[in-house]
Subunit: 586 residues, 2 copies
């Protein structure tokens, strides 16, 4: 297919030549699948994304959702696209067969999702939210809750939301003030009345699904009506827009947020319980809300990474095509115009985008592949360590790739006539939602490294193994030495921050995350180059081009990117403590 | 005044404590001025920017210029603001008294402009274009041309444009196809008929000035009707929208470009000569167009730097105020909410913005001060060297500052309810127009350094002088050693690229520009810290705070930024030649 979305030969290389997806089919839960069934899912995804999701990309940016007395109205083309997605059964793809799903590996469904995110990020967002919601209910909910609230989402008839933030509580969920007062029991379980305001609710209201299932974090007051402090008192509730009998629940849209990008996804301030309390049912037990939500959150963070990678990937394809087509400058005054791809600086911007976009996609796929490992402790620990990296590296460098895609287009890239400016605006959300870059840095350094989790040990082993393989390949052995040196720098920095007093250990968590992210990507690029070198003799045609491209991209990364690690680690090691001076009051 | 624009005490520190503006008043052309007259200009600028330009910032983004049969219509508030600016005589501020101006130093008028650019970049753009146009005509035009076309612009009644690019000729002006056929002579000089299309014309049409003066680059065909190749055949023409007698000239708006930001500035595709040829008068002689335009272009590039710095500066002020006000997280679960400025990562993002915004403003002011030096050869050479740096560093790191301003605001920063997302969209233009970052890199390395211009010698002397001063100040002497080492790296890289074959010398001109820019900023931050250390004993109040802030910002730059130079120079030194591989066809 001719489209600027994910390149199929690249996806095939990553999944089959690199991540050995074939070995997954030996797991009992995946025995129904093989290369052919997965190829069919990808064929379908690619075509639907290009033919149905991509055509309304521009219009869903310019005609935003609006609110009237009936609620929020969304561009009908978004609803049409999602109905086709549902009719093909794709909402159910990652669910087990007993829930009516295809039981596909996460590595496959996440990749399928990336085609849709590349084609239309804001239309695809409804998919991600709905699937995550249904997964949470089907994991922690009662059979009746699953039957009533998860299945219609798995069928794609109802859509879901995640109601975490409040106007006064964004990154810190301990400050949640929404209250849930016990209101008896029915066939759905313990029933509550919820009152409170929820902010930044994507898909919080819309007119393109039959119903909306809100998953709401709230606190249950004690006998004196006082809410528990901190995060341990948070519980999770299912609050449908329309009740199972069709009557309207007490959930109102207080306003729409008007965003820089991602405009097709409605984003709402919701008021719960303005008229006596919205009815909600507890999921699991009281006080388990944050733990439940975080099980979903890790998947959501990898999905954000996939989305950011997909936007970067599409931007790169647009820029590459433009650079081959657009003439500017001549080698001789009377010679023909040169396509701008002949100019070194344009080539630098293109290969940087390739490296950021393909690298981010590879990183996210690596994480998705870990999800599919039979939840062994090693894979789980490594996944926990890499999740903040997959989320942040893809978001930050995916955005950097989109910035370069604009720059390749020159003035045209700054206009809304070309897609690259919208890709850039859309991607700017990704370093913010599902935990900002700053939050991810603290998660990585504070929770995943300084507490001595064994994810780092697993990572060390895998890097050592990649280095051992690369050492035997002539054109890669210098890079094997370079990545070993970079990882020594990371280890030194971990020692240095470990010696800082108390909370100061995390002061430079973000520069550390950037350094760590580049070190992870350095390892993965080398690992990709090893896989490509090994596969090359068997490959031909486009698959061969992809593999050769991986080896050259790896060289670019080691020549232009790897040494940034040293710069980011300098403040981490030096602890100059400028951040704790009086500079802000001067 | 309480506003988020330039901080007056900072401006005063830069101009008087650092750049010794007082010594300028000894130059004969500036003897009418002193601290008081300049203070009055700044008072006026600050107030008009905050009270008249800033209030329509949002609305000029959401209600874009539109085109109908009468031409382009612009938000009336933009016209109102510019009329007030004109009534106060500010269009004339930088012109000599014999042209009806105030004869103010450029360092003063450029600073005044920065307040307006911070308040409303797209309204201020009409000022920059008009002043640059009038300056060009008053420098190269005949007395009749000056009288007819420059003076109404100096009065602010007519506005000006620069018509360089064409749809097929952006960065490469040698490809200009607009033709000018000789059509006699009149009191305005040699008259021509112009035909052709001009793209990206800011202010190309509007309904807020009495007339529009286009300055158009075009080529005069030879006897066979053939246009000269390359840039040497380019000439400059004055083409008014309405003729001096009030009749309409043959200039038509073919379309409006719809941009990501800077939306209040209309941006047009203009068709010249659809009905027989637009009448234009030659400025100077044929073939001098590019030289004339480039004299203006250097000033325009520094103005872009000022604009980018101003947007970054305002974004920082918004983020600082937000961070002090917004609560999120608690140090104890039952304690009060902490303002987010207490969080280390927020503090890091704030001090980075301060360093980028205040650093960019200082760099541009340093260049503006060089413009005012009586055009001695040393200052001119240094100015030529620093112009691509002032343009690019301010644009790239000003945008980075605006990115961080959004991040400090979290989800709110991504909405159009807050100003920071618009500042970011506005600033994204600056690395593109008036020569992209890639073009500036080639200018710096190719034209200003590798040809052996003496600007680099002047810079070396000035850096040595700063280092000598810093060595005597206890808290700065380590940084004096660091910047010396960084400059040694720059010198080594210059040697390395000089040895590359032919055009390959410029392959890594952009990474070199980034490294060079940070080395220049490292020098300037140290120079600012020296000036601040010396001035501190005499300062009190806000002036004292500003000076202390400069010393701490300098420390931040040396702790978090300076070492990036090494990373950017690595590919410059290593010449791995990845850019010339087949990667783009794979």
């Amino acid at each position: 297919m001719n489209h600027p979305l994910l390149r199929r030969a690249d996806v095939d290389f990553l999944l089959f030549d690199w991540l050995d997806l074939d070995s997954l089919f030996e797991q009992e839960k995946f025995t129904d699948h093989n290369r052919e069934t997965i190829g069919a899912v990808f064929d379908l995804s690619e075509r639907l994304a290009a033919e149905v999701f991509m055509p309304h990309y521009k219009v869903s940016d310019s005609i935003e959702p609006y609110l009237d007395a009936d609620g929020v109205h969304v561009l009908p083309a978004i609803g049409d696209a999602l109905r086709q997605y549902a009719q093909l059964g794709l909402f159910s793809a990652s669910f087990s067969t007993d829930l009516g799903g295809f039981g596909l590996p996460y590595a496959v469904t996440a990749t399928s999702y990336a085609w849709f995110a590349a084609a239309n990020a804001s239309t695809a967002a409804y998919i991600m939210l709905t699937v995550a919601n249904a997964r949470l209910i089907s994991t922690f909910g009662s059979p009746a809750q699953i039957e009533t609230f998860a299945l219609p989402q798995i069928e794609g008839r109802w859509f879901g939301t995640m109601c975490l933030s409040e106007p006064q509580a964004g990154s810190n969920l301990g400050d949640v003030q929404t209250r849930a007062a016990r209101d008896g029991e029915d066939e759905m379980g313990a029933r509550y009345r919820l009152t409170g305001n929820k902010m930044w609710i994507s898909g919080g209201d819309q007119d393109i699904s039959e119903n909306i299932v809100h998953l709401v974090l709230a606190k249950v007051p004690d006998a004196e009506g006082k809410l528990p402090t901190g995060t341990s008192g948070i519980s999770l509730f299912i609050v449908p827009r329309a009740m199972p009998d069709g009557s309207r629940n007490d959930v109102a849209v207080a306003g729409l947020n008007h965003k820089m990008g991602y405009r097709g996804t409605s984003n709402c301030l919701l008021n719960f319980g303005e008229n006596g309390g919205a009815i909600g049912w507890l999921v699991g037990s009281e006080g388990e809300g944050l733990r439940q939500m975080f099980m979903m959150m890790n998947e959501a963070r990898i999905s954000v990474g996939f989305g950011a990678a997909a936007l970067a990937y599409r931007g790169y394809q647009h820029a590459l095509a433009y650079a081959k087509d657009r003439g500017q400058g001549r080698t001789r005054p009377d010679g023909p115009q040169t396509p701008i791809i002949e100019h070194a600086d344009v080539r630098r911007m293109l290969v940087a985008q390739k490296c950021y976009a393909e690298g981010a996609l590879a990183l996210c796929m690596y994480c998705a592949r870990l999800v599919d490992e039979d939840k062994d402790a090693e894979s789980a620990a490594l996944l926990a360590l890499l999740t903040p990296v997959a989320k942040t590296w893809s978001s930050e460098f995916g955005l950097a790739a989109n910035d370069l895609a604009i720059q390749v287009h020159g003035g045209y890239g700054y206009t809304r006539d070309f897609d690259v400016e919208q890709l850039y605006r859309d991607n700017r959300l990704n370093p913010i939602h599902e935990g900002t870059t700053g939050i991810q840095g603290m998660d990585l350094l504070g929770r995943k490294i300084l507490r001595g989790d064994k994810g780092l040990d697993v990572l060390r082993d895998r890097i050592a193994s990649t280095i051992a393989s690369a050492r035997d390949i002539t054109e890669l052995n210098v890079m094997a030495m370079q990545i070993r040196a970079s990882w020594r720098e990371i280890e030194t920095a971990i020692q240095a921050v470990g010696k800082r007093p108390g909370r100061r250990a995390l002061d430079d968590a973000t520069p550390f995350l950037f350094a760590f992210g580049h070190a992870v990507m350095g390892w993965l690029w080398l690992d990709l180059a090893v896989a490509a070198s090994r596969a090359l003799p068997q490959l031909s045609g486009d698959a061969r081009n992809v593999a050769k491209g991986k080896i050259l991209s790896c060289r670019y990364f080691y020549s232009y990117e790897l040494m940034k690690i040293t710069a980011w680690l300098t403040p981490v090691n030096d602890d100059c403590d400028i951040l704790n001076t009086s500079i802000y009051s001067l």
